[in-house]
């Protein structure tokens, strides 16, 4: 028997596979047994009720997808009364994803969801900071520091900061989040993209642009997860384009201690459970007794110098 448990700071997960925020809900219990997941991660909520973006909210691009769902939200009260109790029927850590357009609002909802039954709070800082220039908090180390410090003082629960691949300062933002008290990093959110319907000449998304997710994102998010794992001491949770067990193993070798599966669940709703079985077999056949033996085992000695040139794609 291999040991699949993994530690994210003070939290121990039975296994490293969990859903990505916004690609999972109570509804999935119709297809699979939610007990089997390492954690439950809910769709980002905001304090107030919100409608989300205009439709169409998704479109397909070659082998991947774009979405501009936005953050439709029934509000924090509805969430506390309905969603938390649903998940508390499972003996699986519940991770609540939150967001807001200003640091104070962010801190407020963070405090509001710091209730029994919640194991950790994922802070989706990839949303626009409307008090500044509208760029997402996670775009710059300075705004990351500002919001993370407020969040830190708003809750004693573990805080997972979810980074954005839209920044050119991945390492600086990761360090800022760590410094300001994040307990883990989730790497990464979707990447700003666009598609146009050549027949109507309209953007394929009602919101003009949206986030790329799925296999196309993987080499980018993997690079970020590696950069973060090399740079910070806190755990990194890999997220982006995972759809095979090889993808998961790649993230673990790169230094992630757990992974989130998003878009792949839309293609194969059972995939998280399938991947868990495959991961267990993989470790067995490779004679790896414990998941932690795999984590961060990348053999990058030869290439160590190159890390300096991290922003140097030709």
């Amino acid at each position: 028997m291999v040991d699949l448990t993994t530690k994210i700071g003070s939290l121990t997960l039975a296994n490293p596979i969990m859903p990505a925020s916004g690609t999972f809900s109570e509804d999935l219990s119709e297809v699979l047994d939610l007990h089997q997941l390492g954690a439950h991660v809910t769709k980002t909520i905001t304090a107030e009720k919100r409608g989300g973006n205009p439709t169409p909210r998704v479109c397909e691009v070659r082998g991947s997808m774009l979405n501009s769902i936005g953050i439709p939200s029934k509000g924090v009260q509805h969430f506390i009364e309905n969603t938390i109790p649903f998940y508390n029927a499972y003996d699986v850590p519940l991770v609540v994803s939150i967001s807001a357009n200003s640091a104070d609002e962010f801190a407020r909802i963070c405090e509001q969801v710091s209730v029994p039954g919640v194991a950790a709070i994922e802070v989706n800082i990839s949303c626009p900071n409307i008090e500044e220039d509208g760029k997402a908090f996670a775009m710059r180390p300075s705004t990351t520091t500002a919001v993370m410090e407020k969040l830190r003082s708003a809750s004693d629960l573990p805080l997972w900061a979810k980074l954005s691949p839209n920044t050119g300062e991945t390492i600086e933002v990761a360090l800022a989040a760590e410094e300001a008290g994040a307990d883990a990093l989730v790497v990464a959110n979707t990447l700003l993209s666009m598609a146009i319907d050549i027949h109507t000449r309209k953007p394929k998304l009602g919101n003009l642009m949206g986030g790329l997710s799925g296999p196309s994102l993987k080499p980018i998010a993997l690079r970020m997860a590696y950069q973060c794992a090399k740079s910070v001491q806190i755990p990194v949770i890999g997220c982006g384009g995972i759809s095979t067990v090889e993808d998961i193993v790649e993230y673990l070798i790169a230094g992630a201690t757990a992974v989130q599966v998003g878009t792949a669940t839309f293609i194969n709703p059972n995939i998280m459970v399938t991947l868990l079985g495959q991961l267990e077999s993989y470790l067995e056949t490779q004679n790896i007794a414990s998941l932690s033996d795999l984590v961060g085992s990348v053999r990058d000695e030869d290439a160590a110098d190159s890390v300096v040139f991290m922003e140097t794609a030709p």
Partner: protein, 281 residues
């Protein structure tokens, strides 16, 4: 009205198993006319407890020429637990349906379903009427099967560009439905003629419920007639889908619930909605 039927999600239980991702085998995949094809699958019992109006989310094959990524939603055209059979009637439009069209007998196809909330047939609804055009036939066809099973009278008004693309007439007739066909070519498919046909049905033998699918024109027509005669109705709607299960919230549409505009997920609260709450788009 449709909301009352909503599945309630599992409560700390193992997968509550109303929906399954299964591998099926193609029995046949034949052209119906120049645009439409009928796909018949050998499917496990687990997915054959269907209701008219529900749909499946189909993982179209990947070929050298077509590489669809997301699943494609398709209404259930036919289902039979006895025969272990599931049928889809689809129009070849883009990458996914072109890939579907390449399937031949013996090929495997991964489908997820049954999904969503189907049509209601209340116990006291004896005279059913449906108004279908184009691919809407696929969605409405199972109502004929269900009407026969429940011993209800069904009038199916089938509209098309011309006789050549009129489909499923025999299917409806075989299931005991009365079929009225209208076509653009004959100039019989216009709104006013449709209104007259329906009004005559109401006058002749009464209509307890009206079903339709898809188009704005038909929605408005049935909303008007329904309001005038106080006849309930249901409409199956479409929207782009990613998950098909209610998780991603991409498939929302606006509905007018007693003056309040709400957004509902077509895959989950629908695809069938009350005709009075549906909004033209």
């Amino acid at each position: 009205m449709s909301l009352i039927q909503r599945h309630s999600a599992g409560e700390g239980s193992p997968a509550n198993g109303t929906t399954h991702e299964v591998e099926t085998t193609v029995k046949s995949n034949t052209p119906v006319n120049g645009e439409y094809r009928l796909l018949t699958l050998d499917a496990p019992q687990s997915v054959l407890d269907c209701k008219p109006g529900q749909f499946f989310h189909i993982l179209c094959p990947v070929t050298m020429a077509e590489q669809p990524y997301l699943r494609r939603p398709m209404s259930i055209y036919g289902y039979s637990a006895e025969k272990g059979e599931l049928q889809f009637l689809y129009k070849v439009t883009g990458e996914g349906t072109r890939a579907l069209a390449t399937l031949t007998k013996g090929d495997k196809l991964n489908v997820l379903g049954p999904l969503g909330v189907g049509f209601t047939i209340q116990d006291d609804w004896q005279n059913l009427l449906l108004l279908a055009r184009g691919v809407g036939l696929a969605t409405l066809a199972p109502l004929a099967q269900e009407a026969q099973r429940l011993n209800r009278k069904l009038v199916a008004i089938c509209s098309a560009r011309n006789e050549d693309v009129l489909m499923s007439i025999d299917h409806f007739k075989a299931l005991g439905a009365e079929v009225i066909t209208v076509t653009d070519a004959q100039g019989t498919s216009d709104l006013e003629n449709l209104r007259e046909i329906i009004e005559n049905q109401i006058a002749d033998h009464g209509v307890d419920v009206m079903y339709t699918c898809g188009s704005n024109r038909m929605l408005k027509l049935l909303q008007e007639i329904g309001a005038k005669h106080d006849i309930p109705g249901e409409i199956a709607l479409e929207q782009q889908m990613a998950c098909g299960l209610g998780m991603c919230q991409c498939c929302v549409r606006s509905f007018n619930r007693n003056g309040t505009i709400t957004q509902e997920r077509v895959c989950r609260e629908g695809p069938v909605f009350g005709i009075e709450e549906a909004m033209a788009w």
